[in-house]
């Protein structure tokens, strides 16, 4: 069994008992939260993650707090997405999330949470309830998944939550979205500045992992169709839909079959949904 030092509670939680400085690190259900500014591919990244792990048989719930994105919303792709009540404000959404977290803690499943770009809720909760520690006390591992493109401004959200110490769980993942690089450009060159930026290096010093999501040239076309990647690769379209071109079907197949498994294999397994016994 592996043990790990935890920082002692700082007393700000009032009645919180003094806990031991050591905690056995066991498998905890994960709450994967997609973070970042708008138009960096948070929903696309989560959608890929969800489809990949559902196909592996994981018990992964989908929470969609992104009420701005309708066309490519997760709710279009998955039938059983939990959403806040219509026209929910910040307070209502916080209550909705709190209820979900309690349910997750009781039932021990994994969950993925999508927000609109730059959504203030996480930062607000980080200040109000020290979200990382609150989740850990509920037996849930928070996974901050910062999705960034090749622009420096894409790091603003990460800078705010990490340098100000707002929301920097042990499981912090920085995803360079390769899909945001024009297909004629060098990905390596496009991400040189972001990949070596002090914000990223500081996060890595604190234990963050940096990975690159492999690009899929026809991602937006598939998102427009509102079908799964597997259906796109296997030539399954709705009756009135114009099928993807043959090349795009092949691109999607390679991405699903080879690139996504490699990509997720590069992320610590305990940060990702738990694989069912049947799935491995």
């Amino acid at each position: 069994m592996i043990v790990r030092k935890l920082s002692a509670p700082d007393g700000a939680e009032g009645a919180a008992p003094t806990r031991t400085a050591e905690k056995i690190v066991t498998r905890m259900p994960v709450l994967i939260i997609a973070l970042g500014r708008g138009r960096v591919g948070k929903t696309a990244m989560l959608n890929a993650l969800i489809q990949h792990y559902l196909r592996l048989g994981c018990d992964l719930r989908i929470w969609n707090a992104d009420q701005q994105n309708e066309t490519h919303s997760l709710s279009r792709f998955h039938p059983d997405v939990a959403e806040p009540p219509p026209r929910a404000g910040l307070v209502d959404t916080k209550l909705w999330l709190e209820g979900n977290i309690q349910d997750q803690s009781r039932q021990q499943y994994d969950a993925a949470l999508d927000f609109a770009g730059g959504d203030p809720l996480i930062k607000k909760l980080a200040v109000e309830v020290r979200l990382v520690r609150a989740l850990e006390r509920m037996g849930i591992r928070p996974v901050a998944m910062h999705v960034v493109g090749p622009e420096k401004a894409d790091l603003d959200y990460l800078r705010q939550v990490s340098e100000e110490g707002l929301f920097m769980p042990e499981a912090t993942l920085i995803v360079l979205n390769g899909g945001l690089v024009e297909s004629s450009r060098s990905v390596d060159h496009a991400f040189t500045e972001v990949g070596n930026h002090p914000v990223v290096l500081n996060a890595m010093k604190k234990g963050a992992e940096v990975v690159m999501m492999p690009p899929l040239a026809c991602m937006s076309r598939i998102a427009d169709l509102g079908i799964s990647f597997a259906d796109a690769a296997c030539n399954r379209f709705r009756p009135a839909q114009e099928p993807l071109s043959f090349f795009d079907q092949e691109r999607t197949a390679i991405w699903l079959d080879d690139e996504l498994p490699k990509f997720f294999g590069g992320i610590p397994a305990h940060w990702m949904p738990r694989l069912s016994a049947k799935g491995g």
Partner: protein
């Protein structure tokens, strides 16, 4: 065989082979074994065959000329249907439909269209990705990243991770070859 018997068989065949299937579909059913043997388990390149199909009067369901995608899809459907029919005849449950190795609790996507073709390669998705080096082999127990006394990751570990990331990015650029553009 009497003329009457032959006429009955022709009618039954017409009943069985309604307009919901294309002429190509039924031709491939009739010649399934020869085509499968000729393909030898490999992928069939349909393009050069299209003109020959046209000469035989084989079209899609609407009577229009074929293209490679339709031919490929039709062949996949034929293979599945023929295998199932033979499985039923052999007294078992028939060939299991793909995705054969997906877990029982796999949730379908909300597309709602019947599965037309699921290449076998996608069964491999049921295999979990290889474990990340920082994950212990035991079920979910985590091996923490090495840390310095101040709780930070050592510089050399960060450098190694950056180098690995760089290799990943460069791998993505492999199509650019030795003259990688730096725009």
């Amino acid at each position: 065989m009497s003329k009457r018997r032959a006429g009955l068989r022709a009618i039954l065949k017409d009943v069985e082979r309604g307009p919901q299937r294309s002429p190509l579909y039924w031709w491939l059913v009739d010649h399934h074994d020869e085509v499968a043997t000729a393909a030898g388990g490999g992928r069939i390149v349909w393009g050069p065959l299209l003109a020959k199909f046209a000469k035989l009067g084989l079209t899609n369901r609407d009577g229009k000329p074929l293209d490679s995608r339709i031919a490929s899809d039709t062949w996949a459907q034929v293979r599945r249907d023929v295998n199932e029919r033979r499985g039923r005849k052999a007294g078992n449950q028939g060939v299991k439909r793909h995705p054969s190795r997906l877990p029982a609790d796999w949730r379908p996507t909300p597309v709602g269209t019947p599965a037309l073709d699921r290449p076998e390669r996608f069964d491999r998705l049921a295999t979990p990705p290889p474990p990340h080096p920082s994950a212990a082999a035991t079920d979910g127990n985590a091996s923490p990243a090495p840390e310095t006394a101040d709780g930070l990751v050592p510089d050399e570990v960060v450098r190694e991770k950056l180098a690995k990331l760089r290799r990943t990015l460069q791998h993505e650029d492999r199509w650019l070859g030795g003259t990688r553009r730096k725009e």
